[in-house]
């Protein structure tokens, strides 16, 4: 099982070296939750971020942290941004 991890802007620093565009594939065990991914890449759980999983943006917090990931899931994490 693996997920596609996309890290944007300065969050790329949490990804593996030599990544292209902040994208990488991460093998996961069954039962892996979103919070486990954060721990694995060393990103502080409390750090402000925008989370988009499979094209749906989520509110930061317990609910998304506990979300179990499936094979092929796309997990995108952005720093807080604004524009428009």
């Amino acid at each position: 099982m693996e997920i596609e991890l996309k890290l944007f802007m300065m969050l790329k620093k949490y990804g593996p070296p030599h990544q292209i565009d902040g994208r990488s594939r991460m093998p996961i065990e069954p039962g892996t939750r979103f919070i486990d991914v954060l721990k694995k890449i060393g990103m502080p759980v409390e750090e402000d971020k925008i989370i988009v999983i499979n094209g749906i943006s989520h509110k930061q917090g317990d609910e998304v942290n506990a979300l179990e990931l499936k094979d092929g899931d796309i997990v995108a994490i952005f720093p807080p941004i604004a524009g428009g």
């Binding site: 944007f8 802007m9 925008i50 749906i56 930061q60 807080p80 941004i81 604004a82």
Partner: protein, 608 residues
């Protein structure tokens, strides 16, 4: 020193005369300034049924009580008139340095009425006013116009310090997508305000001022600004995002959420998104970032395309422009997008509407509705030459551009397929697909100036989670969110601040109240400024009703209501406007037809 409410300059272009008037303090108090006060003046002085391009329409340029005060992002003015694009009220916002200079010159606003029969330019210097012939400027682009005007000013320093707002050839041709350009690169972009200026044969407004701007209660004002600045400093607008990457920072996240308009809103994801993102702009074409007057956010980008057929330089593109010229036209190359954006600024075209119009032209062409001989070029999606070529034609009023310069609705209507125009009230919809972000659908449908994202930017909560994170796919509660965003925006637009301050967590009515109170000396309460913002929204609505708009106009293109998105997170979704609109009307105090109820009007001190 200039203070608020201060003075207005009223110019009669038919007679070539002008007068200086005091702004009525009670009106200033009730309508704040900028967008609100301008709406009030328009409502009182112009019949909403007027021909927008006739001499009886007026063009009102107004700063707000915070413009040029040193409050954060206090750079803005509004252009208010009846729109030739929509037939509804137009109020377009711009920053740069021109608005502050106008206040320095002793005027808080200008009312332009009548129409000259020869091209003229309005020169203002510290309270002195002159109308000069401008035949030599007619036909020039915005940049050429600025250069030619500066050449007429003897003193080198004065020439540099002078600020100019003008129209380009598009405004002269009364293109319904024409904007007013100031400081070469900033635009009061939307709703065709430049065409109204063109109809009055006013080519440029040239301003130089050396008076300061004074706030009524400086210690109170300073304290309020300090509080607002602290909030701003901890928020995402001043963090790495905007200063480093500009507004186009949004491209990747909006694409990730499946709401990036692609191929004239046929899809919500674009394979080339990262190539046109803010990161890509910063890496490839940006030379430096730039801010408006007194703005530390500095979201603008100076960019250059060094060589090749798209070579050029200028400011931008902004998120909306790069998205619509890019994904919506199927183009993943920054060079032609930057070039098309420069052309919009040179010719004085609204880059958002112009880009959408090209996307509509491309779909009309691919479906065989625009014959090849009319197109004169291959208008297929993804053809960069078509983007640059058609924008050039629109700017000059040539070829297919003669029709396209009036916008996507006029173009689609000409070829008998208005269903392919992605507009609300004939104004093009910006760069978020409301099928995957429901509140934006309500924002678009109810915007008093037609398709527009900056009348209630719920993306802030539905996607970015700035104040609180909402689920973009639900409709529940969105009516209330939209109303609050609309009201706060009406207040910010009336104050002279840039809307970007509202992208700060926790920034709200109380911050605005404190700063406006300190600047004006009116003892506003928070309640009073909230009521004022509702009053402004409802007066715009009353103007539109008198101009003939009804509930039937508060809608979206059929595509967005009926054709589901086909991929990504919002796959299978349409915009469920019908679930939000009745609740919205109710929250506004309107009846089921969207007509303000008498008790609401009484509470707001308005008359239908």
């Amino acid at each position: 020193m200039n203070s608020w409410p201060g003075k207005l300059l009223r110019v009669d272009l038919t007679r070539g005369t002008w007068a200086v008037e005091d702004i009525d303090p009670q009106l200033a108090r009730d309508y704040i300034g900028g967008r609100g006060l301008g709406t009030k003046i328009l409502y009182d002085e112009v019949d909403p049924a007027v021909d927008p391009l006739g001499p009886d329409n007026k063009l009102i340029l107004l700063t707000g009580p915070l413009t040029a005060t040193g409050a954060p992002a206090s750079a803005r003015y509004m252009a208010i008139t009846k729109s030739p694009l929509t037939g509804a009220i137009a109020s377009s916002n711009s920053g740069g340095y021109f608005p502050a200079e106008l206040r320095y010159a002793g005027f808080n606003g200008i009312i332009l009425e009548g129409a000259s029969d020869k091209p003229v330019a309005l020169w203002i210097k510290d309270g002195e006013v002159e109308l000069k012939p401008a035949d030599d400027l007619w036909g020039k682009t915005s940049e050429e116009t600025e250069d030619a005007i500066r050449d007429q000013i003897e003193d080198d320093w004065e020439a540099k310090a002078t600020r100019i707002a003008c129209i380009g050839p598009a405004g002269e041709n009364m293109a319904r997508l024409a904007c007013i350009i100031n400081d070469t690169h900033r635009a009061a972009g939307r709703s065709g305000v430049g065409a109204v200026m063109g109809s009055k044969k006013l080519k440029a407004i040239v301003v130089r001022g050396t008076q300061g701007v004074q706030t009524a209660d400086f210690p109170e004002f300073k304290a309020a600004v300090k509080t607002a600045m602290q909030k701003l400093a901890s928020g995402p607008v001043t963090s790495q995002g905007l200063p480093t990457y500009g507004t186009a920072i949004l491209v990747n996240i909006i694409n990730e959420c499946g709401i990036l308009p692609t191929h004239n809103f046929q899809k919500g994801m674009f394979a080339g998104a990262s190539k046109i993102s803010g990161e890509s702009i910063a890496e490839n074409i940006m030379t430096r970032n730039k801010g408006c007057f007194a703005c530390s956010i500095a979201c603008a980008r100076m960019t250059v395309i060094e060589e090749g057929k798209y070579a050029g330089h200028g400011e931008g593109p902004e998120y909306e422009t790069v998205e619509l010229m890019g994904a919506d036209c199927g183009i993943d190359d920054l060079a032609p997008i930057a070039k098309a954006n420069y052309l919009c600024n040179f010719y004085g075209l609204d880059s958002i509407s112009a880009a959408c119009t090209v996307a509509t032209a491309m779909e009309l062409y691919e479906k065989g509705y625009i014959p090849r001989e009319d197109a004169g070029m291959d208008l297929s999606f993804g053809n960069p030459d078509a983007l640059v070529g058609l924008i050039e034609q629109m700017g000059k009023g040539e070829g297919l551009g003669k029709i396209a310069m009036h916008g996507s609705w006029f173009l689609a209507n000409h070829y008998g397929h208005t269903e392919l125009s992605m507009d609300v009230k004939k104004q093009e919809i910006p760069a978020y697909d409301p099928r995957g972000v429901q509140g934006m659908g309500l924002t678009y449908a109810t915007s008093n100036r037609g398709g527009c994202h900056v009348r209630g930017y719920t993306i802030a909560n539905e996607v970015l989670g700035v104040h609180e994170k909402l689920d973009p796919l639900v409709t529940e509660g969105k009516a209330a969110t939209v109303k609050v965003f609309q009201d706060l925006t009406a207040l910010v637009d009336s104050s002279g601040l840039c809307l970007f301050v509202t992208l700060t967590p926790g920034f709200g009515f109380d911050d605005m109240q404190a700063m406006i109170k300190g600047a004006t000396g009116f003892d506003y309460t928070v309640h009073e400024v909230i009521v004022a913002s509702e009053r402004i929204w409802n007066l715009e609505k009353l103007f539109n009703m008198k101009a003939g708009f009804t509930r039937a106009d508060d809608t979206l293109p059929k595509r967005l209501l009926e054709e589901p998105l086909t991929e990504g997170g919002p796959k299978g979704q349409v915009c469920r406007l019908h679930e939000m609109l009745p609740e919205y009307y109710e929250l506004r105090g309107w009846d089921e037809n969207g007509v303000p109820k008498p008790e609401l009007l009484e509470r707001l001190g308005l008359q239908a």
